[in-house]
């Protein structure tokens, strides 16, 4: 820790509109920009999933207006099989990269990490601005792939070679669209690396006086651990994307072996390996799951402690578990490749650490549950999403127990069981963390309160809706329902169509429910009740700033001094049952 570092003034208050709201160096504006980008991406991704779900239950039904999005992909509004795969690819890419990586980590992390550790800004504000705008460019490149003449990419968010590498011969969607996909992810990796470096430097160098590592709130720890994982993961995906682009446009053969006859054209490549792409991709891809979920674990733990009005049984154990998961995440990538043709002995080597990840995950769950016991749980929209997170984390986690075993994977690989598993544990759980963070921090970010009744309604309907969507996926998987099919024409799949209908209705319902959230977010931003200084009676430094939203230098020229561990709840103090980190007061007896 460097006290001197915390006293460096990085930049003065912005004066022009552009420097204030567009090319801002202020981490709070950048955090909001990331949030806005994630919001646009999640709404787009969700609408794509609606289109896919509708197509799955009625492949020949014209979807009004779809023909305007793509004349070729949806002539007369009826989606072609290749357009379905394109929407699926874009859905996955948008959600994984631009929502699950951006919202819980880049958006909230940018806004609150510096404030929670008592800094005035990130360590490198210009890098910070650059990482957002680079992410924005990556987003624009990806979206532009929707509009190229030979169709958007369709090789899935995993872009397995050689389908993704041999070019136009492999069919529609394998032309310029796929190259743009590779370029977009390449640029995204640069942005993520810049962001990760910035988070690490900020955490290590800019903590204010008294803010030892042990006194950092659990969510700051989560962002710190996530940035370490990001640094190693995106550093591998970056060159992998470069090699993929070179295979496509430079005539190289990193991922393409010899002797391929694609659409009656003998491919000129030789000597490459499709498995190399899979190894590089999943070496990034598995840690990516934890890049999405660890910040959510941090957010949820942070808010839950506040709502329970007492410390966790051991929030440090949760921090150690997050480190353990981060460490193990680099040893398990091969469990995505059990059936890929790699040496069958290696399956057992990858299976063991995968099963071991259950241990830290179980410890965390038991600590959350055990901490609830005997608490004074305040029910707010934020705390409800935290409880919903625990439920989803468990449901999505136990199905991982099946997939971690190679023998079971022989049957369940590439079925809807896998889709149900990762949507619950990585998608819905992480999004619940984002919702919890939004309801909790909105007063700090805007100075206004969100509507609690609407928030609670939003929660309960979303909670029921997501279970209705993703629980039946496991049932479909057990029945052998293959994923990534644009229509179910096989004899054994036709009897499963009623289940798909139910899922589609549930998805349309749950998607519509998000309008409540959107309304609450926009309405409260302008018309919400003025937020009190510390509406949740919380302890960490973000609630010690002189105003909401905080001034450009966060603490109005003052450098807060930290006197306590982050979670002094259930104590006797002049403020009530809690003691803020920046308060020099000493806690009395437990009331």
């Amino acid at each position: 820790m460097s006290e001197a570092g915390a006293h460096v003034v990085h930049h003065g208050p912005p004066t022009t509109f552009i420097r204030k709201h567009v090319f801002s160096l202020d981490h709070k504006v950048i955090g909001k920009q990331y949030y806005a980008l994630a919001l646009v991406a999640v709404l787009t991704g969700m609408m794509l999933s609606w289109l896919m779900r509708i197509h799955l239950i009625a492949p020949n039904w014209p979807i009004p207006g779809l023909q305007w999005l793509s004349k070729v992909g949806a002539p007369g509004g009826v989606m072609t099989p290749e357009y379905y795969l394109s929407l699926m690819t874009m859905h996955g890419t948008l959600m994984v990269f631009f929502v699950l990586t951006n919202a819980p980590f880049a958006a909230f992390g940018n806004y609150f990490l510096p404030i929670q550790i008592g800094a005035e800004d990130m360590a490198f504000p210009k890098f910070n601005m650059m990482s957002f705008w680079t992410t924005f460019i990556a987003f624009c490149i990806l979206v532009s792939a929707f509009f190229v003449s030979d169709g958007p990419p369709l090789a899935g968010w995993t872009a397995y070679a050689p389908l993704s590498a041999v070019g136009k011969d492999a069919g529609p969607g394998e032309g310029l669209g796929q190259t743009l996909w590779g370029l977009s992810i390449f640029v995204f990796c640069i942005a993520s690396l810049l962001g990760a470096l910035n988070f690490i430097a900020t955490t290590l160098d800019l903590r204010t006086k008294g803010m030892t590592l042990a006194r950092m709130p659990i969510v700051s720890w989560a962002w710190f651990i996530t940035s370490c994982i990001s640094l190693l993961a995106f550093a591998v995906l970056l060159p992998a994307c470069l090699l993929l682009i070179l295979d496509r446009v430079g005539g190289t053969s990193f991922f393409i072996p010899s002797g391929l006859n694609v659409s009656d054209h003998l491919q000129p490549h030789q000597g490459g390996s499709p498995l190399l792409w899979q190894h590089l991709f999943w070496f990034f891809g598995h840690p990516e799951v934890y890049i999405a979920i660890l910040p959510a674990i941090g957010i949820v733990s942070h808010i839950l402690i506040n709502s329970m009005r007492k410390p966790m049984l051991s929030h440090k154990t949760i921090i150690y578990c997050m480190m353990g998961i981060g460490f193990l995440s680099y040893m398990v990538w091969g469990h995505h490749m059990f059936l890929s043709g790699m040496n069958p002995f290696s399956a057992l080597v990858f299976s063991f650490p995968t099963l071991m990840i259950t241990i830290p995950a179980t410890i965390m769950t038991l600590i959350w549950l055990g901490s609830l016991y005997g608490s004074h749980l305040r029910i707010t929209a934020a705390s409800l999403f935290c409880l919903g997170f625990i439920s989803m984390f468990v449901s999505g986690g136990v199905s991982g127990f099946f997939l971690a075993q190679p023998s079971i994977d022989i049957y369940l690989h590439a079925t809807y069981f896998v889709v149900g598993h990762f949507h619950m544990v990585m998608g819905v759980a992480a999004i619940f963390g984002v919702f919890a963070g939004t309801y909790f921090w909105f007063p700090k970010m805007t100075g206004r309160m969100m509507s609690e009744p609407l928030g609670k309604l939003h929660f309960i309907l979303t909670f029921i809706g997501t279970y209705c969507i993703f629980m039946p996926f496991h049932y479909l998987g057990l029945a052998g329902n293959v994923r990534r099919y644009s229509a179910f024409t096989d004899d054994f799949l036709i009897p499963l169509l009623p289940v798909h209908k139910f899922i589609t209705y549930a998805a349309l319902f749950t998607g519509a429910v998000q309008l409540i959230f959107l309304f609450n977010l926009i309405y409260s931003h302008f018309k919400g009740a003025i937020a009190p200084e510390n509406p949740w009676e919380a302890t960490s430094l973000e609630w010690s700033t002189p105003s909401s939203p905080p001034p450009f230098d966060n603490f109005g020229g003052v450098h807060p001094v930290v006197y306590h561990d982050p979670y002094q709840y259930g104590v006797k103090s002049s403020t009530g049952d809690y003691l803020m980190q920046a308060s020099p007061e000493r806690a009395g007896e437990t009331p």
Binding site: L355, S407, G480, F492
Partner: protein, 270 residues
């Protein structure tokens, strides 16, 4: 109010989800999965059943405890704050011991089923069949009376003239009597050694009833072995995204009695 509502919803979801879990566990795997027709499949099914019990119990216990604790503590303002008896220590020990033991046990037992499919090579007298996957069809090849396969020449592939494998019968004698089929016809109770070749991009071979799935990887000729025990027709589907026709890439597995198979093969040679 909404806290108690959440508690009720969690408990209802847990109990509703328990119905298929209990059904699977007590009524047998065939309730949720198709009948197994392979000699190795029962080990996979057993492994799924055991995992279903352990994962199902963990799921139910965690959701019910969550619902119960939220019901008890939601909105509570009075009374002393209490800590879970024993604190974090016992929970950590319990998690490490119980889950660790569970993971090691499942991992160790499950390895047997995996080993049965992947560690032992096909026996020497297994029937060799070559499978080729290309956008968007499977083709199968039998060696013919000479027992030898002709070589594959990717540049000679000509689907219009039914030369799906790129054979060169003019210069390659073993290729002349090779039998090509769009359907995988096999005899029951005889081990099959499937030699897998990808023509263009990645594909996968999945037969639910056989409890078998394996990727076709361009550049890697992989092999797979299995024995089917029940005569009948089953669907082979592609499970590796291979392009626009992926959903429609399928073939039939036709399991025949040995006599019928011999007759079928003879008819093909002629």
């Amino acid at each position: 109010m909404s806290g108690k509502l959440f508690a009720v919803v969690v408990i209802v979801i847990a109990l509703a989800s328990a119905v298929p879990i209990i059904n699977h566990t007590f009524m047998g795997a065939n309730v949720s999965m198709p009948e197994d027709i392979s000699t190795h499949g029962y080990e996979i099914d057993k492994q799924i059943d055991e995992t279903m019990i352990e994962a199902g119990l963990s799921f139910l216990a965690a959701q019910l405890v969550l619902g119960f604790f939220v019901w008890k503590t939601a909105g509570k303002k009075d009374g002393p704050l209490k800590n879970f008896p024993g604190g974090a220590k016992y929970l950590v020990v319990a998690a490490v011991l119980l889950v660790g033991a569970e993971a090691i046990a499942l991992g160790a037992i499950g390895s047997k089923a995996w080993a049965k499919v992947y560690f032992q090579p096909a026996s020497a007298d297994a029937l060799q069949i070559q499978a080729q996957a290309g956008q968007f069809a499977f083709y199968f090849r039998y060696a013919g009376p000479d027992g030898k396969f002709g070589g594959i020449h990717p540049e000679k592939i000509d689907e219009g003239n039914s030369n799906f494998f790129g054979l060169d019968p003019e210069n390659d004698i073993p290729a002349r009597d090779d039998i090509t089929s769009g359907e995988l016809v096999i005899p029951a109770n005889k081990e099959i050694h499937l030699m897998m070749h990808a023509k263009d991009v990645g594909h996968s071979f999945y037969v639910r009833e056989l409890r078998i799935q394996q990727d076709f990887v361009p550049g890697l000729d992989l092999s797979l072995h299995f024995t089917a025990t029940k005569v009948g027709k089953y669907e082979i589907v592609c499970t590796q995204l291979c392009g626009l026709g992926h959903y429609n890439m399928k073939a039939y597995l036709n399991v025949m009695a040995q006599d019928d198979f011999d007759k079928w093969l003879k008819a093909q040679s002629n």
